[in-house]
């Protein structure tokens, strides 16, 4: 029978109407999926019990598309077709990624739309498609674990992601067949996982030290909205750097400097990583290196380890200071510090952070999982499974300011960042030349003052302005951001009423046609799957029905049925069982319906008879179901 979860009083759902939802942490190095069960947020592991899915996808002729550990294992031997850290490419143009791209082994193709594509053995793929493959694996895992289709998901993104990067993430989800309830900022998700939104209003710091990146965010909780006051970080600093310095120490200690080859280095880094992890709980760890003729044995104490990584940990404090300054807050305003990312397990990191912020950091939740757990809580609320007073809905805010380019290449901000959406704001502009009849409008996104430093979103022209002296025309420019975060801009000349408007499509996202084409592709392949699934479902239904009617006949057939009725039922059963191995699911469905129909009276009689049995010895008013 179906497995049930405990619900809040009065909120149990009708059978077949559970609203399944998950939260997804789509990370640079690994991704996770979590859900709420009986009121508790829980990570969904794969069939081997692994919670973390490496965010690596390999496209090869020999094995097709591989995701996760399988792909990661091939990264060294097949770097061109194995794509890791694709998150860094999301929503970026080729020009944006060129400085990173030089370090990446992939072959980029410059596409017309500006979105980079990567050449693989299976053809060109875009970062959006690569991300969609990762999401599909998590979707399948979730649907298997929850036993049904997902109603919606919440996906987390870094607080500093701009519109294009967010749109690319949405596109990836759409491509993976997921309905996105909301994109949630990663630091906000971490705060939600700890239930901070139910606590006091005030400032919260999220310190996120992952494998390869460091981010610190200052959040302000205000009337149920987490506003991002400031973010800072270092995109090339993380736990992997700690492993690197330990490995260097090992090389020095064991005198391996002139013996270094790729395989040995890999082994040393593995040993460094496990030593680092062991030192979280122990004060020293023994390390043995056995490699060809080399045999070395030594001890790494926590003290030495802390000396080695001290400089790295100190380096995280610089962005922390910058973020505090940007947010213009002082240390005593901070209500809580939340630790995120595997590297925050290192005691030195915890102590350093605690000392710096003068506040004991929150470490109760697994720092690798905390973002996904928070996303799951938000998803659960958004699909309406948890309407209790404690369930506060977080509002989305605009991640970056939206504005319009004015004369001289300056930006006039119309909707400031951190404004809760949906929102509409308008501002009046005027002409700057006598007799000017048209005006070019250029919508941009960003915090900088110069147009060139902001991201261009859209350009359009308002024609038909009556010729007037400079400064006499009144042009109202309205910015509107809907609940999905999509921006539309309109301009109207107030004296004549001429109008022009544009719906902003992020410059580096996919066009609707592209998305449609991709979805059509995936559907073409899916058609076969769907057909076989429909057939399978009908066959299972048929089997189930046959079994239960068989059992019912054996028990009550003689007692409740006339010979003619029984004959009809038996005939329908034969018909069904003879045809259920065929491949026409509609035919099987029809035969199931027939059997259901001829056995309805029988079922009703059995119900009556069992009700009478159940009623025996009870007063009627006890049973007013």
């Amino acid at each position: 029978m179906a497995l049930l979860q405990i619900t809040e009083p009065g909120q149990s759902t009708t059978p077949h109407q559970h609203r399944l939802s998950v939260g997804i942490d789509l990370g640079t190095t690994h991704s996770l999926v979590a859900t709420i069960r009986s009121g508790i947020a829980d990570i969904l592991p794969d069939s081997d019990g692994q919670c973390l899915l490496p965010s690596v996808v390999r496209y090869s002729k020999e094995a097709g598309i591989e995701v996760g550990d399988l792909a990661k294992a091939k990264a060294a031997v097949d770097p061109l077709n194995t794509i890791a850290s694709v998150k860094r490419l999301m929503g970026r143009g080729l020009a944006d990624v060129s400085h990173t791209a030089n370090h990446l082994p992939y072959q980029f193709v410059d596409a017309d739309v500006g979105m980079p594509r990567i050449n693989t053995e299976l053809g060109q793929v875009s970062p959006v498609e690569v991300s969609a493959e990762i999401l599909k694996v998590l979707r399948d895992r979730a649907q298997e674990a929850l036993g049904g289709e997902l109603s919606g998901v919440v996906i987390t993104v870094p607080a500093y992601f701009d519109d294009a990067q967010r749109q690319a993430t949405r596109d990836a989800a759409r491509l993976a067949g997921l309905s996105v309830l909301r994109l949630l900022n990663e630091p906000t998700a971490a705060a939600v996982a700890y239930g901070l939104e139910k606590g006091d209003e005030g400032i919260h710091v999220i310190y996120d030290l992952g494998g390869g990146t460091f981010d610190v965010s200052i959040l302000q909780l205000n009337k149920g909205v987490f506003e991002v006051l400031a973010t800072a970080g270092d995109s090339a600093l993380g736990g992997d750097d700690m492993d690197q310095v330990i490995a260097e120490w090992l090389i020095e200690q064991a005198g391996l400097a002139n013996k270094l080859e790729h395989k040995l280095l890999r082994t040393l880094i593995e040993q460094a990583r496990s030593a680092k992890e062991l030192l979280t709980l122990r004060s020293e760890v023994e390390i043995k290196i056995e490699y060809e003729q080399i045999s070395w044995r030594g001890v790494l104490t926590r003290e030495v380890f802390e000396g080695l990584v001290m400089a790295l940990v100190q380096r995280t404090l610089l962005p922390c200071r910058r973020a505090l300054k940007d947010a213009s807050i002082t240390l005593d305003e901070i209500k809580a510090v939340v630790m995120v990312g595997g590297a925050t397990r290192v005691p030195l990191v915890r102590n350093t952070v605690g000392t710096f912020f003068e506040c004991q950091p929150l470490v109760d939740l697994d720092p690798d999982k905390v973002v996904a757990l928070g996303a799951a809580r938000q998803a659960d609320q958004l699909v309406g499974n948890n309407n209790s007073a404690a369930g506060l809905l977080l509002l989305d805010v605009t991640p970056l300011s939206l504005g319009i380019a004015t004369m001289g290449g300056l930006v006039e901000k119309i909707i400031p960042r951190n404004t809760p959406i949906p929102v509409a704001k308008a501002q009046e502009f005027t002409t700057f030349k006598d007799g000017q009849t048209a005006m070019q409008l250029h919508a941009v996104q960003g915090e900088r003052e110069l147009v060139d430093d902001c991201r261009s979103l859209a350009q359009f022209v308002l024609h038909g302005i009556p010729a007037m002296v400079a400064g006499a025309a009144k042009i109202k420019v309205s910015f509107q951001v809907d609940a999905d975060g999509l921006l539309s801009v309109s301009a109207e000349e107030l004296s004549s009423g001429v109008q022009s408007r544009v719906q902003v499509k992020p410059s580096y996202g996919l066009t609707d046609d592209e998305i449609t084409a991709m979805l059509r592709d995936s559907m073409a392949h899916a058609a076969d799957d769907v057909a076989s699934r429909l057939l399978k479902e009908q066959q299972m239904d048929a089997e189930r029905l046959l079994e239960s009617v068989q059992a019912a006949l054996a028990m009550d057939g003689e007692r409740l049925l006339e010979a003619r009725e029984k004959e009809l039922i038996l005939q329908a059963m034969h018909n069904l069982s003879d045809n259920m191995t065929g491949d026409d699911h509609l035919h099987i469905k029809k035969l199931i319906a027939t059997l259901n129909e001829v056995s309805t009276t029988f079922a009703a009689r059995r119900m009556d008879s069992s009700m009478q049995a159940a009623l025996k010895g009870h007063r009627v008013d006890e049973i007013d179901l």
């Binding site: 149990s12 009708t14 009121g39 969904l44 592991p45 298997e144 069992s610 009870h618 006890e622």
Partner: protein, 107 residues
């Protein structure tokens, strides 16, 4: 009349209640719905009502209202895993038929 609970189920209920922070136990009930007539309800309980029966198993209170008890008498609440899915199961001796998905049943 009695309702029991397996060791595994009691452990899970205990930890879910602790995580929730309040509540006196777990309610088992049936409601009329679904494709086979009736469906189970499994909820946290904040307050015990007057017509409730309370069964204590391994330190955990199972609360059942008078109507539901007619259909649930002798039921054991169990907790189990099926593939990647995990959750509570009702082992109800009164059940004669369940629908395909097992979410609803008839007696």
């Amino acid at each position: 009349m009695a309702i029991t609970m397996s060791m595994a189920a009691a452990d899970r209920v205990k930890s879910f209640l602790e995580a929730r922070g309040h509540g006196v136990g777990v309610r088992l009930a049936v409601k009329t719905t679904g494709c086979s007539g009736m469906a189970y309800v499994l909820e946290f309980v904040n307050e015990i009502e007057t017509d409730d029966s309370v069964f204590e198993n391994q330190g955990v209170k199972v609360i059942v209202d008078a109507k539901s008890l007619l259909y649930l008498d002798g039921t054991e609440l169990d907790y189990g895993r099926e593939g990647l899915n995990e959750g509570f199961k009702f082992n109800n001796p009164n059940v004669k038929d369940t629908c395909g998905c097992g979410e609803s049943f008839s007696i």
